[in-house]
C-alpha cells in the first residue's frame, strides 16, 4: 500500500455514524487545542523521539548552567588570598580551564552523536506501507491531496489532513507561491514547502485525536492565520472518510439549498472555488465539495459554524486582513441560502 491504491470494498458511511462521531471529534479538537501544540506532548513516534532527545539536551544544559553560575558566583564573592598572585595559582587555574574545556567537548560529542542517531530515524518512516499525501502550500491555506490510481479518485482536502492511527503518512510537500513550513508539533518537526521543489517528510499518530498544525515559515500578511488540523482516526473511519470525500457533491437537499447552489454558481465564488459535481471548477481557492464536513474554516482560523461561515463569506477581510478572498456583498436572503447550501456539502 505504498500509495492509496485502495480499490478496496469500502463500507459506505451511514448517516448514523456521522452524527455519532461528530461530537466526539469536536471534543477531541477542544482538548487538543487547549495548550496543545506542544512538542513535549508527543503523539507519534517522530515527535516522541525528538521529545526524548529534547529532554536529554535540556536537562544536561540546565545542570551545566547551574554549575557554571555557581562557580562564577563563588569566583566573584570568595575570600581573597595572598597566594592568588602566585604562579602556582595560575597553574591551578589553567588546569581548571582545560578540565572545563575537555568536559564541554565530551558533552558536545555526546550531543552530536545522540542528535545524529535520533535524526536518522526521522527522515523516512520506519514501518513499511506508508500512504502518500501531497501537501501544497498556498497563501494562506493548505491543500492535502490523496492520490489514487485514477485522477478522478484523487481526494483534495483543504486545511484538514486525515490520517489513520498507527500508519505512517509520507508527505510530499511543495508550494504554489512562497515558502511555507509544515508543522504539527505533536507529531513531528517542521518541513519547508518550497516552490519549485518537492520536500519529503512523514507523520504518524499513535492515538486518535485532532492535532493542530501551523505554518512555521513567515509567508506574508496572514502567516499568523495559516493553520490546519490533523485528524487521526482508526483505519476504518479513515477509509470511510476517504470514500465520502471521493464522492462529488450531491443534489441540494432542500429548496433553500437549491437556491444557495444557484446563487453560488452565479456569483464570483466560482472564479476561485471547485465544487465537484457542479460547474464550479476553479482552483485558486480551497475546494468546497465537502466544506460542510470540515471542522474549521479560513485555514484553522474559525470553527466551522453557520455564523462564522456567514461572516467569512460576507467579509473575509475583516477576519483575515489581506487574504486573497474578496468580500461578497450578497443580499441577506442569498447569503443565507448559500450558507445552507455550503453547510449541506458534507
Amino acid at each position: 500500500m505504498t500509495r492509496l491504491r485502495m480499490r478496496l470494498p469500502v463500507p459506505r458511511p451511514r448517516l448514523a455514524d456521522l452524527t455519532r462521531s461528530a461530537p466526539l471529534v469536536f471534543a477531541a479538537a477542544a482538548t487538543a487545542c487547549a495548550g496543545n501544540q506542544a512538542m513535549f506532548n508527543p503523539q507519534g513516534p517522530a515527535a516522541r523521539s525528538i521529545a526524548s532527545l529534547g529532554w536529554l539536551l535540556l536537562s544536561v544544559c540546565v545542570v551545566i548552567y547551574v554549575i557554571v553560575m555557581a562557580v562564577a558566583a563563588w569566583s566573584l564573592f570568595r575570600r581573597r588570598d595572598a597566594a592568588d598572585d602566585l604562579p602556582a595559582t595560575a597553574t591551578k587555574l589553567t588546569r581548571a580551564v582545560v578540565a572545563g574545556t575537555v568536559v564541554s567537548a565530551i558533552i558536545l560529542v555526546v550531543f552530536t552523536v545522540s542528535s545524529v542517531v535520533a535524526g536518522r530515524g526521522l527522515t523516512s518512516p520506519t514501518g513499511a506501507g506508508a500512504i502518500t499525501v501531497d501537501v501544497i502550500g498556498h497563501q494562506w491555506w493548505w491543500e492535502f491531496q490523496y492520490r489514487d490510481v485514477s485522477p478522478s479518485d484523487f481526494v483534495t482536502s483543504p486545511n484538514e489532513l486525515h490520517i489513520p492511527v498507527g500508519v505512517p503518512m509520507h508527505l510530499k510537500a511543495t508550494s504554489r507561491d512562497v515558502i511555507h513550513s509544515f508543522w504539527v508539533p505533536n507529531l513531528h518537526g517542521k518541513r519547508d514547502l518550497i516552490p519549485g521543489q518537492v520536500t519529503n517528510t512523514w507523520i504518524q499518530a499513535d492515538t486518535p485525536g485532532v492535532y493542530r498544525g501551523e505554518c512555521a515559515e513567515f509567508c506574508g500578511h496572514q502567516h499568523a492565520n495559516m493553520a490546519f488540523v490533523v485528524v487521526a482516526e482508526p483505519m476504518d473511519t479513515f477509509l470511510a472518510w476517504i470514500a465520502r470525500q471521493r464522492q462529488p457533491a450531491g443534489e441540494p437537499p432542500t429548496d433553500e439549498a437549491r437556491r444557495g447552489h444557484d446563487v453560488f454558481l452565479q456569483s464570483t465564488c466560482v472564479m476561485c472555488h471547485t465544487i465537484r459535481g457542479t460547474t464550479a471548477g476553479a482552483r485558486l481557492g480551497p475546494e468546497l465539495t465537502h466544506v460542510g464536513s470540515r471542522m474549521t474554516i479560513a485555514a484553522g482560523t474559525l470553527p466551522n459554524t453557520r455564523g462564522h461561515l456567514g461572516g467569512w463569506v460576507a467579509d473575509p477581510q475583516s477576519i483575515k486582513p489581506g487574504v486573497r478572498m474578496p468580500a461578497n456583498p450578497l443580499e441577506p436572503a442569498d447569503l443565507q441560502a448559500v450558507l445552507t447550501y455550503l453547510r449541506s456539502l458534507r
Binding site: 552530536t112 542528535s115 497563501q139 512562497v178 515558502i179 512555521a216
Partner: protein
C-alpha cells in the same frame, strides 16, 4: 596596583588643550602641543562639520547615531509586545505588524548592532594601538555619511508606512517581485547596500589601522584583546558581507529589471537566497558578538586589576570563532530538506563553536576568581553578560541538534535564544563598555549609583521579557505571527513578556538619562579613572585632537601597567603635517612614515551622490549611468593630491596621500 574607585576629585573641568596651555609658554611640551593641535585641527563651522576626518569625532557620531536607531527599533519592539500581550489583539494589523517586525530586525542588525560595534572600534582602536588617527580617515567620513543616509531612508519608510515587510531575512519568493509588489523590498535591499558599503569601509580601515599603525613594541602578542576582537570581526565583515551584497543586489535585479535568479518558474532557485543570506547572516552574529567579547576582556582587566587570565587562549578562541563562524550557516536551514549527511556536518560545526565560547567564559571566570573585583556598573554589566550569555549559548547548542531544531526552529524558543546571545551577549557588554569608556570619550564620569540601578532594571527586564519565550516555543508558538488564538493558552506568558518589555524600556530610559545628565553635570574624569591598562587611558580625557602628545612605545602586554618610569616615546615624526608612523604587521617595528589627509568636504559629497544613486536605483536602472559623472567628480576631488608645499620639508618624502 590595587586601586579603589574612580578618581574624580578634581572639580574644575580642564580641557585637554588647556592643560598644555597652562604650561610655561616656552616649554617644548607646550610648543609641541600647539603645533600638533594646529596640524590635526578639527574644522569648525557648517562645512567643517561635514569635513571632519577625525576618528574620535566620527566614532562618537557613529555611536550616537547607532544608539538612536537602537532606540527607534526598541520602540518598534515595544509596539510588537503591546500587540502580542493578549490574544486576538487588534492594536496593530498584519500589515503594520509585518512592517514593524521587519524594520525592528533590520534596524537592530544592520543599523545598530554591527555599526555600533564598528563605531566603538573606530573610536577606540586608534587610541588603543597608539595611533594619531584611523587609517583612511576620509573613507571613514564617507562611510559614516553613507550609513547615516541609509538609516534615515529606512526610518523614513517606516514613518511613511511603506517599510519593508518581508522580514529582516527577506526570503524569496516572498520578497520577490510577485509577492511583494511596490517598493518595500527594494528599500530593504538598498538599505543592505548602504550598510554593507559603510561596514566594509570601516572593516578595511580597522584592519589597516591594526596591522600597520600600532605603536612600536605592540607586537601581535601584546595587542589588547579588544583590538584582537575588532581585527577578527573586521575580517569576518570583509569575508561575509560581499555575500549579502550579492544576494540583495540580485534581488534588486529580479525586482527592477526582471532577472529570474530567485524565480523557480524560470529556472531560478528560491533556496539560493537562503544560502547567500545565511553565509553572511550567521557570521554576522559573531561580527556583533566578538567585539563585545573584547569589551568584556577590557572591563574585566580593569575591574579586577589583573591581566585577563589566559590571553593566548582568549586570542585563539577569538580567531577560532572567526573561522568556525563561517561553517554554520546551514543550521538556519535544517527544515529545508537538505541531505542528511550535509546536515550532520553543520550540526558538528555548530556544536564545535561552543568550545571557543566555553574557553572564553572559563578564562573570564578564572580572571574573576584570581582578581579583586570592584563592583562598579561596568563590571555588573559583565557579570550580567555571563549569566545571560551562558544560557543563550546553551540554548544555541540545543539548536545545533537537527531533530530538536526541527521542532523549535522559527518558534519563540529561537527568539529567546538570539535575544539572549545578542542582547545579553553583545548589548550588555556594550552598555558596560559605554559606562567604562564614557569618561574617556567625554571627560566626565557617568553616575555609578544610577548605573547599578540601571543594570538591575535591565537585567530583570531582560529576563522577564525573554525567558518566558523559551516556554512559548515549547508550547508551539511560531515567530512572526501578528496574533494568536486564545485557545492555545499562550496569553499568560505573552503578557508576562510584555510587562517585562516595559521594564526593559525603563532600563533603556535610565541609560539615556544617565548619559545625558553625566555629559552635562558628571564629575570630571581623570586621564585613567579606572586605572586600566590600555593605551587610550594614557592620554587625556577626552583625548586631544592628535590623540597622543608623544606617540607611545609599548613595553608589555598591559601597556600602561608595564610602562617603565622612563618609558621611551616615538620621536622623529613631524608635527607640522599629518605624518604618522607605519609599523610592520608582526612586531610593530617602525618601517616608514606616511602623511594622512586633511579634512575635506569631498567624502561627504561623495556620500551624498552615492546615496542618491542607491535610492534612485530603487526606482530606475538609469540611476547608475546618471550617477557616474557626479560620482567621478567627487572622487577626483577626494583624491586630489596634496600640494607640494603642504608636506614640503622632510627627511623622507611622505608617500602619496593615503585616502
Amino acid at each position: 596596583m590595587d586601586h579603589s574607585g574612580p578618581e574624580n576629585q578634581r572639580d574644575e573641568r580642564i580641557e585637554p588643550q588647556d592643560r598644555y596651555e597652562l604650561l610655561p609658554d616656552a616649554t617644548a611640551e607646550s610648543r609641541l602641543h600647539q603645533e600638533l593641535a594646529r596640524t590635526w585641527y578639527v574644522p569648525k563651522g557648517v562645512i567643517g562639520w561635514f569635513s571632519v576626518v577625525d576618528h574620535r569625532t566620527i566614532g562618537k557620531r557613529y555611536i550616537v547615531t547607532a544608539f538612536s536607531f537602537f532606540g527607534f527599533a526598541g520602540l518598534l519592539a515595544a509596539l510588537m509586545r503591546v500587540q502580542l500581550a493578549v490574544p486576538n489583539n487588534h492594536f496593530l494589523g498584519p500589515d503594520l505588524y509585518n512592517q514593524v517586525f521587519t524594520t525592528h530586525g533590520t534596524m537592530m542588525m544592520f543599523l545598530f548592532a554591527v555599526p555600533v560595534m564598528e563605531a566603538m572600534g573606530v573610536y577606540l582602536v586608534p587610541l588603543m594601538v597608539g595611533a594619531r588617527n584611523i587609517a583612511f580617515p576620509r573613507l571613514n567620513t564617507f562611510s559614516y555619511f553613507v550609513y547615516l543616509f541609509g538609516g534615515i531612508m529606512l526610518t523614513a519608510t517606516m514613518l511613511m508606512n511603506t517599510a519593508p515587510d518581508a522580514g529582516w531575512f527577506s526570503y524569496v519568493p516572498l520578497a520577490g517581485p510577485d509577492f511583494t509588489p511596490g517598493k518595500r523590498s527594494d528599500f530593504w535591499a538598498q538599505l543592505i547596500t548602504f550598510t554593507e558599503v559603510s561596514g566594509l569601509a570601516v572593516a578595511v580601515e580597522l584592519v589597516t589601522t591594526i596591522f600597520k599603525t600600532r605603536a612600536p613594541g605592540m607586537s601581535l602578542n601584546r595587542m589588547p584583546l579588544f583590538v584582537w576582537a575588532m581585527l577578527v570581526a573586521s575580517f569576518m565583515i570583509i569575508f561575509s558581507m560581499p555575500s549579502v551584497v550579492t544576494s540583495s543586489s540580485i534581488l534588486l535585479l529580479d525586482r527592477l529589471v526582471g532577472t529570474h535568479f530567485y524565480n523557480p518558474a524560470e529556472g531560478g532557485d528560491a533556496l539560493l537566497w537562503q544560502h547567500l543570506f545565511w553565509f553572511f547572516g550567521h557570521p554576522e552574529v559573531y561580527i556583533i558578538f566578538v567585539p563585545a567579547l573584547g569589551m568584556v576582556s577590557s572591563i574585566i582587566a580593569a575591574f579586577t586589576q589583573r591581566p585577563v587570565f589566559g590571553y593566548t587562549a582568549l586570542v585563539l578562541a577569538l580567531v577560532a570563532t572567526g573561522f568556525i563562524g563561517f561553517g554554520l550557516w546551514v543550521h538556519h536551514m535544517f527544515a529545508t530538506g537538505l541531505p542528511q549527511l550535509g546536515l550532520t556536518y553543520f550540526t558538528a560545526a555548530s556544536m564545535v563553536i561552543a568550545i571557543p565560547s566555553g574557553v572564553q567564559i572559563f578564562c573570564w571566570i578564572a580572571s574573576l576568581w584570581r582578581g579583586r573585583p570592584r563592583f562598579h556598573a561596568p563590571l555588573l554589566f559583565v557579570v550580567g553578560f555571563i549569566a545571560i550569555f551562558v544560557l543563550g549559548g546553551l540554548s544555541g547548542v540545543t539548536l545545533a541538534s537537527v531533530p530538536f531544531d526541527l521542532q523549535v526552529h522559527d518558534t519563540y524558543y529561537v527568539v529567546a535564544h538570539f535575544h539572549y546571545v545578542l542582547l545579553g551577549g553583545a548589548v550588555f557588554p556594550l552598555i558596560g563598555g559605554i559606562y567604562f569608556w564614557f569618561p574617556k570619550m567625554t571627560g566626565r564620569m557617568m553616575d555609578d549609583g544610577l548605573g547599578r540601578v540601571n543594570f538591575w532594571v535591565l537585567f530583570f527586564g531582560f529576563n522577564i521579557t525573554f525567558f518566558p519565550m523559551h516556554i512559548l516555543g515549547f508550547e508551539g508558538m511560531p515567530r512572526r505571527i501578528y496574533t494568536y488564538p486564545a485557545e492555545l493558552g499562550w496569553g499568560t506568558l505573552n503578557l508576562v513578556s510584555s510587562l517585562g518589555a516595559g521594564l526593559l524600556a525603563i532600563g533603556g530610559l535610565l541609560l539615556l538619562v544617565n548619559v545625558v545628565r553625566s555629559y552635562r553635570f558628571g564629575a570630571v574624569a581623570t586621564d585613567n579613572p579606572w586605572h586600566a591598562d590600555t593605551l587610550e587611558w594614557g592620554t587625556t580625557s577626552p583625548p586631544p585632537v592628535y590623540n597622543f602628545l608623544h606617540l607611545p612605545v609599548v613595553e608589555g602586554r598591559n601597556a600602561l601597567w608595564d610602562r617603565s618610569e622612563d618609558a621611551p616615546v616615538v620621536t622623529g615624526i613631524r608635527s607640522d603635517c599629518r605624518e604618522v608612523l607605519v609599523t610592520d604587521v608582526m612586531d610593530a617595528e617602525p618601517s616608514n612614515k606616511v602623511s594622512y589627509p586633511d579634512p575635506s568636504i569631498w567624502p561627504f559629497l561623495c556620500a551624498v551622490v552615492t546615496s542618491a544613486f542607491f535610492i534612485g536605483s530603487i526606482f530606475t536602472p538609469w540611476a547608475l549611468p546618471v550617477a557616474i559623472l557626479p560620482l567621478a567628480i567627487t572622487l577626483i576631488g577626494w583624491f586630489w593630491p596634496k600640494s607640494e608645499a603642504a608636506d614640503a620639508p622632510g627627511v623622507k618624502k611622505p608617500l602619496r596621500e593615503v585616502a
